[in-house]
């Protein structure tokens, strides 16, 4: 059973060991090349209150007056001591900024991840089983339209219909305004999660539907399925019986490998719905050229996506034994 797992994990760890430094150097180079003056971004609208001497003092205190290689070296030195550095935008340690926002983002991403997998695989199976009939055509049309719709547009559409037009769902925030977290019920929290989660899951659902449908069709066309059908099994029964394993293995691989896109999509969904997660902090860090925070978020995302891909490979091998021979 675990004969394939150990070599897989070892290989991936080696890959991570060279990927992390390369990504760190590349990311830092990109940030330092960005045409944003971090001191000006920090001062922002207060230009007339902060004289040139104070600007020099700000640069000195935050180490912004050093050349990029020296800034990188000092960041790396801190990292090796387990310190992600200090965020100038938030005036707080990077680890604290990330830790305060990660739970909200993970709740959003996690729920959207599960919801889109269940919904996408289900629709794909139904479409595959009813190939050429109206449910298939309808599902495919919806999938293609969704694949062609930008996420922010879907979000705005959902807000204008369900929040502003019908007034069924809140348009913003993770909790109702004017109340303390301790006064907000779980039901209200879920209520506030609906639109962001739907936005986030709908955007990535199209490829899942189409791939599931395709792999189910491949199974249904196979001699094995033909044999079962000859014995009286209906396509729907085949789809949710023996076909499930064929189709879901592919769907799971695809879905886990796409976890990174979900992370990117959450930046957008958080901006539209004022969701207090990492997305907002990412935007703030990028527009403020906040190097330590961007590096921290970048590396956290990298590990997140890397873990997603690794889980995808493990899950695929569990679902489909034929893959286990491959590294």
């Amino acid at each position: 059973m675990t004969g394939w797992l150990v070599p897989l994990l070892a290989g991936r760890l080696v890959r991570l060991a060279w990927l992390l430094p390369v990504a760190a150097v590349g990311l830092f180079a990109l940030i330092s090349l960005a045409p944003i003056d971090p001191v000006q971004a920090y001062v922002g609208g207060r230009t007339s209150q902060i004289g040139p001497e104070q600007r020099a003092a700000i640069a000195a205190v935050w180490g912004l007056d050093l050349p990029a290689p020296e800034r990188f070296a000092s960041w790396l030195g801190q990292l090796l001591r387990g310190d992600l550095g200090q965020s100038i935008s938030y005036n707080a340690p990077v680890a604290q900024v990330i830790a305060a926002r990660l739970p909200a983002s993970l709740a959003l991403i996690g729920t959207a991840f599960v919801a889109s997998f269940v919904l996408g695989a289900l629709l794909g199976l139904v479409a595959g089983a009813t190939r050429g009939q109206w449910p298939d055509r309808l599902i495919r049309t919806v999938a293609v339209v969704l694949a062609a719709s930008p996420g922010f547009w879907v979000a705005i559409l959902l807000v204008s219909v369900f929040a502003v037009g019908l007034g069924w769902l809140p348009s913003c925030c993770a909790m109702p305004p004017g109340r303390l977290a301790s006064e907000v019920t779980l039901a209200e929290r879920w209520h506030h999660m609906v639109l962001p989660v739907v936005t986030l899951s709908v955007v990535g659902i199209a490829p899942l539907v189409l791939h599931t449908r395709q792999s189910l069709i491949a199974f249904l066309d196979s001699p094995a399925a033909g044999h079962l059908a000859a014995h009286g099994a209906s396509p729907l029964r085949l789809a949710f019986g023996p076909g499930l394993r064929h189709a879901v293995g592919v769907a799971l691989t695809l879905h886990l490998a796409g976890a990174g896109e979900l992370f990117g999509g959450s930046v957008l969904a958080e901006a539209v719905f004022a969701w207090p997660g990492l997305g907002q902090a990412t935007v703030r860090a990028a527009t403020g050229a906040d190097e330590p925070l961007l590096m921290g978020i970048g590396l956290a995302t990298l590990i997140f996506v890397f873990a997603g891909n690794l889980l995808a490979d493990i899950a695929a091998r569990l679902a489909d034994p034929r893959l286990r021979g491959q590294a």
Binding site: P35, Q40, Y42, V43, G45, R46, T47, S48, Q49, I50, G51, P52, E53, Q54, R55, A57, I58, A60, V61, W62, S89, Y90, N91, A92, A100, R101, V159, A163, V164, G167, S171, C172, C173, A174, M175, P176, P177, G178, R179, L180, A181, E183, V184, T185, L186, A187, E188, A271, V272, F273, A274, W275, P276, G277, Q280, A281, R284
Partner: protein, 521 residues
């Protein structure tokens, strides 16, 4: 059993009713300080400092009145502020506020490298428990603005956690701050300033659209809205327009082009705008009311100077606008005539043409640039609107005209924009303007014996009867408009007298939050 737990949690969560009974005041006006509520790092610039109190404060007319300080005076040599403190100020944790806390706050902020500029402070020292002295390195009357913005923190408990768990002697204390989402405060029972009409105040952050959606559902009592939404308050709310000095104007390059460049390689000077006649003609020609209608949907007022309506503004320095005939006379007299009949004037073979730079991301400035260009074409000046990023503008702003915006509650801005020492420094004096007489007035203002005494000097820098930076003098700028800041406010909320707003829409309206009142039952 394990399986039924989620179902049980669901049932409980649906069954427990909300506990909020008193209705909170809910504001959606932005202004969340990402870095937290630490005055030493720059919190409390405009608007209410909420948690802290300051030595002095501005009233609705922008005159300085006491808050923690009961008496304040500047020494004969203008280097030492001596302030007496009230003895009944108490921090929200119950400990009394003494001179030691003031001294700690000022000395710490001086070297902290945050957004409170106290470079001119030499030292703060306590004389006794209720008297402090703030010694400066040189006479600087605008230091008074710091006395009104720097909130006092407790020396005993200030630390790394302060920004997110502030303790102060201000009107409110923090109940909960969910970053990026909402700040909830309640009245500080130890506050020395009187009763507050709200049991709780919530500041909802997030997008403008989210704030408007809250207002439409009746969940917010005050919302900052953009000009396009300014006259569309939902039922139960009123439109509120507040005058501001959030201004936009044209900064002229003042020097002729001689091939000089800045250290970064940007060209300096422009032969067309170096001619005073061109700058005066632009000031005379601009129809500022039309610009307000065009670019601001009517939500603004014409700008005649950098500080319209503030105590240090000098209306005498302005010249009448919307007068193309006078502008054309000015140009004719200076030798700018249209000889080749293309509609644009020339002088000695030089076309009256320059670029009008604006940040492409700012639609208001774009509209202003386009409108001004159209109006100037009428008097034979070719001002070509050119959108770009701030980077591109930075490379061109010393040799071309640029749309800039200012408007602080602090006359040091007047100094930065017009003093020769700030030529080409950051965005201050982009035109390299330098007039020794103006510099002398500005320096005299900073060295004045008091805030009131400095006002006449600031005004003289704009126009002293012979010269000045204003349009009657050197016309270093052509100011165009002051924005109006728009809000939707609940019909039941009385905000009292409001200040002229500074550059910055939203949070500055909270300046007198502690004295707001409900007017309905």
């Amino acid at each position: 059993m394990i399986r039924s737990l989620p179902a049980l949690a669901l049932a409980l969560s649906l069954a427990v009713p909300s506990q909020a009974d008193a209705r909170a005041l809910v504001l959606a006006i932005g202004g969340e300080p990402d870095g937290g509520f630490d005055p030493i790092m720059g919190w409390g610039h405009y608007g209410s400092p909420l948690f802290q109190s300051t030595l002095l404060r501005y009233d609705a007319k922008l005159e300085l009145i006491g808050d923690l300080a009961t008496n304040w005076e500047l020494s004969e040599d203008r280097l030492v502020w001596r302030l007496s403190l009230r003895d009944d100020a108490v921090f929200s944790d119950g400990r009394p506020l003494t001179a030691e806390d003031v001294v700690f706050t000022y000395n710490t902020a001086r070297t902290a490298g945050g957004l409170a500029d106290l470079r001119v402070l030499r030292e703060a020292r306590a004389i006794d428990a209720t008297t402090v002295e703030l010694a400066l390195t040189e006479p600087r009357i605008t230091f008074a603005a710091r006395l009104a913005t720097l909130g006092i923190v407790p020396a005993g408990s200030y630390g790394a956690e302060y920004a997110r768990h502030p303790v102060g002697s201000g009107p409110f204390r923090m109940v909960e701050w969910r970053e990026g989402e909402q700040l909830v405060v309640e009245p500080n029972p130890h506050w020395h300033g009187g009763e507050i009409a709200f049991e709780r105040v919530s500041f909802v952050f997030g997008s403008e659209e989210a704030g408007q959606a809250l207002a439409r559902t009746g969940a917010a009592d005050l919302v900052a809205v953009p000009p396009s939404m300014a006259d569309r308050a939902p039922p139960g709310m009123e439109d509120l327009h507040v005058d501001s000095v959030d201004n936009r104007g044209l900064a002229f390059p003042m020097l002729p082009s001689t091939g000089r460049t800045t250290d970064a390689g940007a060209a300096i000077g422009n032969d067309v705008t170096a001619d005073r006649a061109i700058r005066v003609a632009v000031n005379q020609a601009l129809d500022r009311d039309a610009l307000v209608a065009l670019a601001l949907d009517g939500h603004g007022r014409p700008a005649m100077g950098p500080a319209d309506g503030l105590p240090w503004d000098n209306p005498e320095a302005a010249i009448p606008g919307n007068d193309p005939a006078a502008a054309m006379d000015t140009l004719d007299a200076a030798g700018w005539t249209d000889e080749d009949g293309d509609g644009i004037r020339e002088k000695d073979g030089l076309r009256a043409a320059f670029q009008l730079l604006y940040p492409a991301s700012d639609s208001t400035r774009q509209a202003l640039a386009l409108g001004a260009s159209e109006q100037l074409r009428g008097i034979g000046i070719d001002a070509r609107p050119t959108g770009g990023s701030w980077d591109e503008i930075g490379a061109l702003m010393h040799s071309q005209v640029v749309v800039l915006g200012w408007g602080a509650h602090d006359p040091s801005e007047i100094y930065f924009l017009h003093h020769g020492n700030y030529s080409g420094v950051d965005y201050y004096n982009t035109g390299h303007y330098a007039n020794p007489a103006v510099d002398a007035h500005l320096e005299a203002a900073e060295a004045a014996s008091g805030v009131d005494a400095s006002l006449a000097r600031w005004k003289a820098a704009a126009w002293d009867g012979e010269t000045g930076f204003g349009p009657r003098g050197d016309a270093a700028w052509a100011w165009m408009v002051n924005l109006e800041h728009s809000y939707w406010v609940s019909e039941c909320l009385d905000l009292g007298a409001l200040q002229v707003h500074p550059h910055g829409h939203g949070f500055p309206i909270t300046h007198d939050l502690a004295s707001w009142r409900w007017t309905c039952e």
